[in-house]
Subunit: 347 residues, 2 copies
C-alpha cells in the first residue's frame, strides 16, 4: 500500500517527466512539492517506489522516470484531467465552423484539428456503420461501357465505384436487377445485405441474367467499401518528433501501418466501456508501438452508434492535459455530428 506522500511523489514524477521529458531528481521534485522535508527523505521514498516497480532509473545515478507499471498506476488512480485552455477551446470551435456535405468530411476534419492541437497523431473513426441500413442503390451509366454504382446508407455514408459493364448483361435486365436490389435489400442493415447477397439474391437474379456473378461482384465491391470502417489520420508527420529517429525503417513500418485501414482497426479495437482509455505501448501487441501510447475516446451519436477518436503519441505524453482535451473534444465532435444528422440524416 502506498502512503499519501508516496502517491504525491509518484504523481509529481509523472507530471514533471511527461511535461519536460527529463528524468526527475529529488531536488527538482522538492521544489515542486508542497512539503517541508529534505531531499534525502524524498530519496528514501523514491527507493520505496522503485522497489514496488513504479519508477525506475535510466542509469545508476540518474533521476527517476515512471515505469510502465507506474504509468498504469498513475492512469488508474492518480490522473486528474485538466481543464481545457480557452485558446484551444476557441480553436476547436472555429475549426469546426464550416458546413459539411458528407459525414466523412467532419470526421476527417476532426483528426486534423486534434492533431494540430496536440502535435501528436490523431485517428478518427466515424460512428459505427455496422447497424447502418442501406437506403439506396443507383447505377448511373457514364458512357457506352462504364457505369457508376452508388450506394447510400442511412448513416450518411455514400460510396461509389466505377465499373465497366460485364459481358453478358444488357441494360434491360440490368434495370430489372436494380429493381430487385431495391425491393429486396434497401432498408436492411448492411450486415443482412451482405448475408442475403450470398443466399437468396443469386437465385432471384438468375431469372434475368445467365451469370449473375459479374454483377454481384460489382455490388459486393461497393458494399464492402461502404461497410468498411474508414479511419482518418491527422498529423502523421508528428510521429517523427516522437520516434527516436535512429531507425528510419521502424518509422517507415509505422507509417505503413498508419496508412492501412485493417491495421488501424486492429489498433483501435472495439469501443471501450470507459469514454476515455489509455493503452500503453507494452500493452499493445505491436512491437513498433513500444514507446507509444494510445488514448482512445468514445462518443455517442444517439441512435447512430458510437464513434472513436484516438491520439497516438509517446508514452510520456502529458496525460492530464490530453485526457482533459480529448474529453471536451469528443463531446464537441458528437455535437457536430448530431447536428449533421439533424439536418440531413433523419426523415
Amino acid at each position: 500500500m502506498l502512503t499519501k506522500r508516496q502517491l504525491l511523489i509518484l504523481k509529481e514524477i509523472v507530471r514533471l517527466y511527461t511535461e519536460y521529458g527529463q528524468p526527475v531528481g529529488s531536488k527538482k521534485l522538492l521544489e515542486q512539492l508542497p512539503m517541508h522535508v529534505s531531499s534525502a527523505t524524498v530519496r528514501n521514498e523514491m527507493v520505496h517506489l522503485e522497489d514496488m516497480g513504479l519508477i525506475e532509473k535510466t542509469h545508476l545515478s540518474s533521476g527517476r522516470i515512471p515505469s510502465m507499471k507506474g504509468y498504469r498506476y498513475y492512469l488508474d488512480h492518480l490522473v486528474e484531467p485538466s481543464s481545457v485552455d480557452a485558446n484551444d477551446m476557441a480553436v476547436i470551435e472555429t475549426s469546426f465552423d464550416q458546413s459539411y456535405h458528407e459525414i466523412d468530411q467532419i470526421v476527417a476534419q476532426s483528426a486534423k484539428i486534434l492533431s494540430s492541437l496536440t502535435s501528436y497523431t490523431a485517428i478518427s473513426l466515424g460512428p459505427e456503420l455496422k447497424e447502418a441500413r442501406l437506403t439506396g442503390f443507383r447505377l448511373v451509366p457514364l458512357d457506352n461501357n462504364q457505369v457508376m454504382a452508388i450506394l447510400v446508407t442511412d448513416s450518411g455514408a455514400v460510396e461509389n465505384q466505377i465499373f465497366s459493364i460485364p459481358n453478358g448483361i444488357d441494360s434491360d435486365s440490368l434495370e430489372k436487377v436494380i429493381r430487385i436490389i431495391n425491393d429486396e435489400l434497401v432498408g436492411l442493415p448492411l450486415t443482412k445485405v451482405i448475408k442475403k447477397l450470398h443466399t437468396s439474391i443469386p437465385q432471384l437474379l438468375t431469372h434475368y441474367m445467365i451469370t449473375p456473378s459479374g454483377f454481384l461482384d460489382i455490388f459486393g465491391g461497393v458494399l464492402k467499401k461502404a461497410a468498411q470502417e474508414r479511419f482518418y489520420v491527422g498529423g502523421k508527420m508528428n510521429l517523427i518528433n516522437t520516434s527516436t529517429i535512429k531507425d528510419v525503417n521502424q518509422l517507415k513500418s509505422l507509417y505503413a501501418m498508419i496508412d492501412k485501414n485493417d491495421d488501424l482497426a486492429k489498433l483501435l479495437g472495439e469501443p471501450a466501456d470507459q469514454p476515455i482509455e489509455v493503452r500503453l505501448g507494452d500493452e499493445m501487441t505491436n512491437d513498433l508501438l513500444k514507446n507509444f501510447s494510445l488514448i482512445t475516446a468514445t462518443y455517442n451519436v444517439s441512435e447512430h452508434g458510437r464513434g472513436m477518436i484516438a491520439l497516438l503519441g509517446p508514452t510520456s505524453m502529458p496525460y492530464s492535459r490530453m485526457i482533459g482535451l480529448l474529453d471536451v473534444f469528443r463531446e464537441e465532435l458528437a455535437k457536430k455530428i448530431t447536428d449533421y444528422y439533424a439536418h440531413f440524416g433523419d426523415e
Copy 2:
C-alpha cells in the same frame, strides 16, 4: 574548353559520387579509369576542373564532389542512359498487369511502381486534361436533401461531389437545368465550359430559377475538381532517406508541399521539350529542395495529350541509371494508358 581526359575524369567523379555517396579522391579515380597516368596527374587535372567550377572539395584535403555547375555539365553533355536491368523490367511489366476501371488508378499505380523501383519519391500526372471535353453531366438524387453531381470527360476522368440541394430550387426546374447543361455544354472542352459558365449560361438559367448562383456553384465545384490536375505521389517516405534528418521541420514542410496539389503543379511546371529533363535543386525556386533533384519525363498518349512522371531524389542520384529507367518507364506507362483508352475512351 575541356580536354578529353578532363571530360573522362569529370564523368567518372559524378558516376562514383552518385553511386557511393563519398567524395572521390585521385587514387580511387585512377583505379576506375582506363588510364596509364599517375595519381599526381589526375590531381593536376582535378585542379583544372575545380578552377572551372565543375567540382569542389568538402574540406581542404578532401576528395572532390561535383558542383552544381558540374552536375549540369554532366547532364547536358556527358550522361549516357544505362539500359534497364532485366529484373526491373519484369517488375514494371508485372506490376502493371491488372485491369483498371479508372485512368487515375493507372496513374496512381505508376507512381507506386516507380518509387519502389528507385527508392526515391515518384510523382505522376496523367495526360493533360486541359483539352478534355465534357461528355456527360448527371445529377443523382440520394435522399430528400442530397444530390450527387457526376461529371465525365472524354479523357476518362470521372468526378463526383455530394451536395445538399440549395434553397429555392425545386426538382422540376432542376431537371430542365440539367437539360440545358447537356445541350449547351456537353461536348465542349472544359476550358470553354468554364468560360461559358460565367457568360451565357447564367442568363439561360434565369428562365427556370430565380437565383441560379446556387446551382452554378455546384456545377462549378465539380468542374473545378475535374479540370484540376491530380498528382499521385508514391514513396513519400523515401524522402526521409535523402534528407539530412537534422531539421525535422524542413522535412515536415517538404511533406506538406508534396501533399499540396498546387505546389506540385508549380514544381513540375509545363511539360518540357525534351522527353526527359533534370532540374537541379538550385535551379528550382523552392529552398526546401536545395539538396534535391527532379527528373521529369514526358509521355504522349496520342490525341489525349501528354502526361508526366517525375522522380524526386537527392542531387547525387545515379542519373544514368535513373534516366535509363525513366525512359523505359514512360513508354510502358504510355502504352498502358493507350490500351486503356482503346478499350473505354474512344467510341
